[in-house]
Amino acid sequence: MNSNPEAGDHANRFPFAAEGGISYAGVTHPDPFAAFFSLMEVVAMLCPNPPPHTPLRGTDFRL
């Protein structure tokens, strides 16, 4: 028998995790190109066979 009903309720509301900690604004990297290539290096490791691009839909395309 659970002697602490609040604990049970807490577990029901948060079956995976109660919080994600502090959120933070996007980090401004001093060299955005280096950050991009750094990310792409890891993307290539994690997803060596990326899915094909889906065609863009709509008509409002801008450069």
């Binding site: 577990a11 509301r13 948060f14 079956p15 995976f16 995790a17 109660a18 919080e19 994600g20 900690g21 502090i22 933070y24 980090v27 401004t28 990297h29 001093p30 280096a34 950050a35 290539f37 750094s38 990310l39 290096e41 890891v42 993307v43 490791m45 994690l46 997803c47 990326p50 899915p51």
Partner: protein, 177 residues
Amino acid sequence: MPGLADQLREALHAFERCEQPPALIGGLALVAHQVIRATLDVDFLADARDAERIDAALVQLGYVCLYRTDDVANYERGGTQRLDVLFARRPHSLRLLRSAQVRDIGIGRLFVVSAEGLIGFKLQALKNDPSRIRDIDDIRKLLRAGSGTLDMAEVAGYFDLFGSAELLRELMRELEP
């Protein structure tokens, strides 16, 4: 400042002292499931019993702990690198940690939470903070990328758990040709 691959490699090496290997979650874990997200945030799910070991290892690597509770710890290094650890303490998260998939990538052996599990965590994040509509888009993309391979009974179970069965029906309708 080491790049993202070096940051991951260092973390994997540091986590070797853990009893249970932490598993990748968050945006980079989506990438491992064919959902490409531009994020430099590194997020791991770890056994709560490894919290002290992880803290010591990350501090040794130069990270500063910004916030830490029984559920989560946020670390930062050099103003540009973040590493967050979510602690598995509940049956669902512990099961997902223990059943994480192994990926041998160029920098070492990486454990990754399943796509179904990521959907569960996304639903929890959405429940905790309904303004995080980005999570719905992530779920939509995971459902699309995993079409035909996802364990939909497990996925439906997570939506039921959060009282969001209608949201799943809506998302599945979007995937219909």
